[in-house]
Amino acid sequence: MKEPNDIIIRSVAKVAVVIIFTFAINLFISGHHYPGGGFIGGLAFASAVILLFLTFDIETVRKNIPLDFKMVAAIGVLIAVLTGLGSLLFDVPFLSQAFGYFYLPIFGKTELATAVLFDIGVALAVIGTALTIIMSIGDDR
């Protein structure tokens, strides 16, 4: 554990991390029509976790987020590839996308696109890769 004299960064980080997470999710969702998307959303998400690494130490964060990030990256790539394979069921070229408008209870008329599923894979892959890189160069072991 670090010495408790970094009270400012701790207080700021606790608030900022939530804001960055929200922003990352916003970036991710807006990415279908506006600037954003899985890649940049994933990077913003990873940057929040990296801020946690800086503020607290790696051990503490690991205890609270007990994920193997290499596995997160692998699962992300798998999701991306498998959603691409989904287009085989409809006999259209690999990675084809489809979208439609649906009426959902709270959101009203909503556009749902299969590209978002692919993007989730991309986001997970980016998060996993970025955090694996940071953790391997930041770890002293």
Binding site: I75, V92, P93
Partner: protein, 496 residues
């Protein structure tokens, strides 16, 4: 549109990712890696039959048609190379099970191996220059890790050189792509071919072509091979065998594709240049192979001679020469993996790679000795083994094109190759047996199976050439007539 086209690429990706998730289950990983390579082989053979009956198969990813989207193209050349790749990879995996060691297996050896194969297969299938770059990078990044995996001193030293040289060549590759895009406004192979034919291949275009040639030469080990002997002798046998069998071949494939499909208008400049480089490569490689007394060095220099020889066929730019180059390319993938596995086994058994310390192994390992003998003959192109036809056609092609010096150098260096590899055979297997069976570092149990498969294949390819004759002819037909490829990709009027 044919969705099966994508499978040879994504099968290894999916299996590799599953393996990362099940990192601790080594046995599962071994089975999965074998299954994935077998699946790739089966799918590709199926594709090959489709290509034969229906013409070149293409897939525009996501429905975005060429030249705007990402296109995957399987013509006969790609199908033949991918099939060979899967067989060679299968055998190298079988060999790796016994020799690679749990430590490397624990650190993602099998996923990395599959990603390497993904990059190689992707390079063979991609329909545009930029994705060729991407697939090269996939392959290279996997190879960076594989070459340094294990972290012995020699591996780290060689991997630094290997990474630096490849980063430089990747940079040059990007520069060349940027030039090409600025001049033609497209990167799709078929579209490029059309555009270059329209505006003509002037001096500037030829310069860009030479820049591409330099980039691919660095990867293929054509003339610019100074990094190759060190890098290929550093990693363990299974890895260096797959490197020797596949990585240089991807560079050769890229040269073949570029200089038959896009930059074929000035053969007296570009193809002659390839020919000159090939001649120098053959001579230097053969000198290296003859000079050294270290098994690994001799074998890696033989890789270089092979590269030069295949490109001599490409340089002739005649139907016969291309046929020869293709036969020899397939032969070389198999036999280089075979000879590396054999050499690696000798080193594994005796613990030394110095020929002067070896003697009389054939008394203890008759099968190994005889298979080495067959591989050595095949490597130097003795009939009826698989190297013969390729050698014959390449020589014929160079003579037909009027490059008598090139053909002569090719034949002369074949003799040097024969000498160098016979030197290994005679020193390692003949003579007084100096090593006792109980003194050996390991056993050949399980190692002879992959070696046996590859040996059987080189014999079968030599005797049963008739079986693949049709397919090779189809591949060469497409290479010599770019219009087939263009029509298939741009959908003008699909023909074989």
């Amino acid at each position: 549109m044919n969705n099966i086209v994508i499978f040879p690429i994504i099968i290894p990706v999916i299996f590799g990712m599953i393996m990362i998730i099940f990192r601790k289950r080594l046995k599962l990983q071994r089975y999965l890696s074998l299954i994935s390579m077998a699946a790739v082989g089966i799918v590709t053979v199926y594709l090959m039959l489709q290509v034969k009956s229906e013409g070149i198969q293409t897939l525009h990813l996501g429905g975005w048609v060429a030249p705007f989207g990402v296109t995957m193209v399987v013509d006969m050349l790609a199908a033949l190379l991918i099939t060979t790749t899967s067989i060679v990879a299968f055998c190298c995996l079988l060999y790796a099970f016994r020799t690679i060691g749990t430590e490397r297996e624990n650190f993602y050896f099998y996923p990395l191996f599959l990603f390497l194969i993904t990059g190689v297969i992707g390079s063979f299938m991609t329909g545009d220059v930029f994705n060729l770059f991407v697939c090269f990078e996939v392959m290279l990044v996997a190879s960076y890790v594989l070459i340094s995996l294990g972290g012995t001193k020699i591996q780290l030293r060689e991997s630094i050189k290997y990474i630096l040289i490849n980063i430089l060549s990747s940079f040059l590759f990007l520069v060349a792509i940027a030039f090409l895009y600025a001049m033609t406004g497209t990167l799709n192979f078929a579209h490029l071919s059309l555009r270059v034919a329209e505006v003509g291949q002037d001096g500037l275009m030829t310069t860009v072509a030479i820049l591409f040639l330099i980039v691919f030469s660095l990867k293929a080990g054509l003339f610019l091979f100074f990094w190759l002997p060190g890098a290929y002798s550093a990693p363990p046998t299974a890895i260096s065998a797959i490197f020797a069998a596949l990585l240089t071949k991807v560079g050769i494939y890229a040269i073949v594709r570029m200089f038959t499909l896009v930059f074929y208008h000035e053969p007296e400049v570009t193809h002659l240049f390839i020919g000159i480089l090939a001649a120098i490569t053959m001579v230097l490689g053969a000198v290296g192979a003859v000079a050294f007394w270290d098994i690994k060095r001799i074998l890696t220099y033989n890789v270089i001679v092979g590269v030069g020889f295949i490109l001599a066929g490409v340089a002739s730019f005649t139907t016969v020469g291309m046929t020869g180059a293709l036969y020899y390319l397939i032969h070389d993938m198999i036999v280089k993996a075979l000879i590396f596995l054999l050499g690696g086994t000798v080193i594994y058994l005796t613990g030394t790679s110095n020929l002067r310390d070896l003697s009389g192994l054939i008394r203890l390992h008759p099968q190994l000795g005889w298979m080495f003998f067959i591989a050595a003959l095949s490597l130097s192109g003795i009939p009826p083994l698989s190297g013969f036809l390729g050698k014959l056609f390449i020589s014929e092609g160079t003579f037909e094109a009027g490059y008598f010096w090139l053909g002569a150098i090719g034949l002369f260096t074949s003799l040097m190759v024969l000498y160098s590899i016979m030197k290994v055979f005679m020193n390692a297997f003949w003579g007084y047996t100096v090593i006792k069976e109980e003194e050996e570092q390991g056993t050949t149990a399980g190692l002879l199976l992959p070696i046996g498969i590859l040996t059987a294949l080189t014999i079968a390819l030599g005797i049963g050439t008739q079986a693949i004759h049709e397919y090779v002819d189809l591949a060469v037909e497409v290479l010599m007539n770019p219009s087939f490829y263009i029509e298939a990709v741009l959908g003008l009027n699909p023909k074989p």
